[in-house]
């Protein structure tokens, strides 16, 4: 009986010591500073009462998408997209546009500085990086992807929150209208906004070369 009691006391002491050590470890460990996390909110989904099928709860149109891009929509030809920009590329035409090598078909592109376009940079709360840019990718039938490339520099060493800000803006648009994807290519934060009717080109990603 005495042996059992002493064992029990020993065990209790061990547990108390363990929790004390745990508490000390908890208070001495470096903690993350208080921060507010951004939640990327997708448009709601409406389910039937039997919860067997669903549809988008909001009826969004290309006008909703155009409101985010300053009038740019999928299917536009390069010259029309260029005309919508605050800093248009002079003399732009299909034959002089470079080929986007990451795609197995004739995909061409041009780009604009992110800093030069208030509309495309809308929603960004911090700095965006002086060398960051937006690439517009086209195939024969028109624009199918806008790709934000956020390049860090000494003034903006971490652009993860900037990418999240951009995602927060585009995630509001349903997947039926625009597919937004956030990934990293080397040290570049990338946010791709793709036409959902682009078929097999949708999962193709950009790889930063020599970065």
């Amino acid at each position: 009986m005495l042996v059992r009691m002493s064992r029990r006391i020993g065990l209790t002491a061990l547990l108390l010591f363990g929790s004390l050590v745990g508490a000390v470890a908890q208070t001495t460990e470096p903690q993350s500073p208080p921060a507010a996390k951004t939640i990327l909110v997708a448009p709601p989904t409406q389910w039937t009462s039997d919860m067997l099928s669903f549809r988008p709860a909001l009826s969004q149109t290309t006008t909703d998408f155009a409101a985010l891009t300053g009038g740019i929509v999928f299917g536009m030809v390069a010259t029309d997209v260029n005309a919508q920009l605050a800093e248009p590329t002079p003399g732009l035409n299909w034959s002089t546009m470079p080929l986007a090598g990451e795609f197995p078909e004739d995909v061409r592109y041009f780009w604009t500085r992110l800093e030069g376009s208030q509309q495309l940079a809308a929603g960004i709360t911090g700095c965006a990086g002086a060398n960051s840019y937006v690439v517009f990718l086209f195939r024969g039938r028109g624009l199918f992807r806008m790709s934000y490339r956020l390049v860090a520099d000494a003034q903006c060493p971490n652009l993860a929150q900037t990418a999240t800000d951009l995602m927060a803006r585009y995630v509001q648009i349903g997947r039926e209208l625009a597919l937004s994807v956030h990934y990293r290519a080397g040290r570049v934060e990338v946010v791709d906004i793709t036409d959902p009717s682009a078929g097999y080109l949708i999962p193709m990603r950009w790889q930063a070369r020599g970065r």
Binding site: K37, T38, L40, T45, Q46, S49, M51, F54, V181, Y183
Partner: protein, 190 residues
Amino acid sequence: MVARAFLFLSLCLLAYGAKAGPVPFDLNLALPPVVEDSLKPPHCTIAYLMADIGMNDTYAARMRITPDENARISRGKYPCPTTVPPRIGARALDTCTARSANPKTCVYIDMSRGFETDPELRNTSENASRCASDISSHIGMACWKAGGFDVCNSACGDSPQDAIAQAVQRCAEKHGKLCTITASLPVLPP
């Protein structure tokens, strides 16, 4: 002449009768249909939180459920189903997987103890990552930074502060950490 006057008077009486007749009670003409709809409570909504631990992004999905025709409104709210089929949670997770370059990095936001060493979907809880509009007004989350991504828990509450406070407590109990990275979201869409 007399016949014409009689006919005229008869028509006047008929017209007056039509005007004075009772309005059918169920037409509810004073209330336009749009106003009537806006007075109805919103459908049950289940809000989910998910994380893309590859990019350290947090996603929210709101699932609205059409009320059953026999559903009874209680305290100004439609009731939510007591059992939520897994397909609704799976569809919520799609909100993240469709936007991630690596869908395997998408998990539910409520993560189990030790998630930082074994960051897999199976170590997250679908039912602890959602809140229903008939019970709570907000879903909250609280996290601590484990290297490249945040390890989080979530909770439901009656205000943003309440939801966050409960998530902070849950995170502290689960992981033994001070969970200082927080956020909240109304369960119902604005």
